[in-house]
C-alpha cells in the first residue's frame, strides 16, 4: 500500500514538474513575442528622443475612421513614408502637419504632450507590422 502511494506521489510530482515546465514555456513565449500593436501604427523618432521626449506614435486605424487618407496625404502634405516628413513642434504650433487639426479646435491641442509622445524609449522609426518590416529589413536595423 505504501509502495503504491509513493509511486503515485512520484507520478504526481512528475506531472507537476511537467505542468510547471509548460507554464514556464508559455510565459517565455508571451514575454518573447514582439510588439502586438495595431497594423499600420507609425512610430516617428526623427527628433523626439534627441530632444528628451518619448518617440511619437501615430495610429492610422484611429485617424482613418474619422478622416479620409486624402485629407492628410494630399491636403496637409504628409508623404507616404514613415519618418519621411520633417515634422517639428514649431511647424505643428504654426498649424502645419499635425497642427492643422491638433490645435484645440478640431482635436486636442499640443499641450497634451504625452498623448502623442507615448512610445517606449528607444523605439526606432517604423510602420508597425508592415510587410517590408517583416520581410526585408530586420527590426534591429531600423526598418521603416
Amino acid at each position: 500500500m505504501r509502495l503504491s502511494l509513493s509511486i503515485h506521489n512520484k507520478l504526481n510530482l512528475i506531472r507537476k514538474i511537467k505542468y510547471a515546465y509548460v507554464l514556464a514555456l508559455a510565459f517565455t513565449y508571451i514575454i518573447a513575442t514582439p510588439a502586438v500593436a495595431e497594423y499600420g501604427d507609425v512610430v516617428i523618432n526623427n527628433y523626439a528622443e534627441k530632444q528628451g521626449m518619448r518617440p511619437v506614435i501615430f495610429s492610422h486605424w484611429f485617424h482613418r475612421i474619422r478622416y479620409a487618407c486624402k485629407v492628410c496625404h494630399a491636403d496637409l502634405g504628409f508623404k507616404f513614408k514613415a519618418g519621411g516628413n520633417d515634422i517639428t513642434m514649431f511647424k505643428i504650433i504654426d498649424g502645419q502637419y499635425c497642427g492643422a487639426c491638433h490645435n484645440g479646435r478640431i482635436a486636442w491641442s499640443v499641450k497634451n504632450c504625452n498623448l502623442c509622445h507615448s512610445a517606449k524609449p528607444g523605439t526606432p522609426t517604423q510602420v508597425h507590422e508592415s510587410t517590408a518590416q517583416e520581410l526585408a529589413i530586420p527590426f534591429s536595423k531600423g526598418a521603416k
Binding site: 500593436a37 495595431e38 482613418r64 491636403d75 517606449k120 510587410t131 517590408a132
Partner: protein
Amino acid sequence: MFLYFVFSFAVPPGVVAADSQQVKKNQVQKKPSSTNIESVASSPETYQPPALTYQPEEMSNILSSSNSFNRLLKISRRHQPPTEDGIHDPDNDGTKILQAPLEAFANLPKTPSDLGNGIDWVRAVDERFISPRWDIDDPTEQPLVMDMNIIRVPKGSIPNELFPHRQHTMWLDCSNCHPAIFIPKKGANQISMAANLLGQKCGVCHGKVSFPFSECKRCHSQPKKELVQKGARQ
C-alpha cells in the same frame, strides 16, 4: 523497377489486406462501447467547447484538441489596448487615455481572412458604419469617386489583377498616386510583387495600412481567360 519487384514479393498483398480487414473488424467491435461513453459524457446541452482564440472555423465541431497546432502561426494576442501593445510606454500617463482598438472595431465589418487590422474598411464606408471626413473642416463635402476598373495581366498562371478606382478614390485624391507612383497611362507602369513587398508601387499603402499582400485574391481576382480556353480545347 527491380526494387518494386523485390518489395512485391517480400510483402504479398493478400496478407496486408487480410490484416487490415481484421483491424477494421476489431474497430467495429470496439466502437459501440466508446460511442456510448461519449454520448453520456458530452450531451449537447451540458458540453461547452473550450474557448480557443484562434481555432479555425471548420475545426470548431471537433472536440479533441490533438490538431490544434497554430498552422498559420498567427499571433494570438492582437488588438491589445495601448498599455499592453508593446510599443506604447505603459509608464506614460497619456497612454492610458488613448482609445483601445477593440473599442473602435467592435461594430466594424471584419474581413474573412482577418489579416492586417482584420477590418473591411471599404465595406465600413459603403455600409455607413463610418463616414470619414473628406475635408478637414466641412463634414458635408463628398469625395469625387471615379468608377473605373483596370485589369492587368501578370506573367505566369496567377489570376489577372483587377484594380478598382472606386475603392481607392473614396479614400484618396488623384494626386496621391498620379503621377508620382503610377504614371496614368496604359502600359507605362512596371509593377512587380518584389517592388510591392519592398514598399514601392502598391506597397506604398498595401502591406502598411491597407490590406496586406497575403490576401492575394483580393487583387488577383479575375480568371485567366486564355488558360481556361486552352483547357477547354484539350
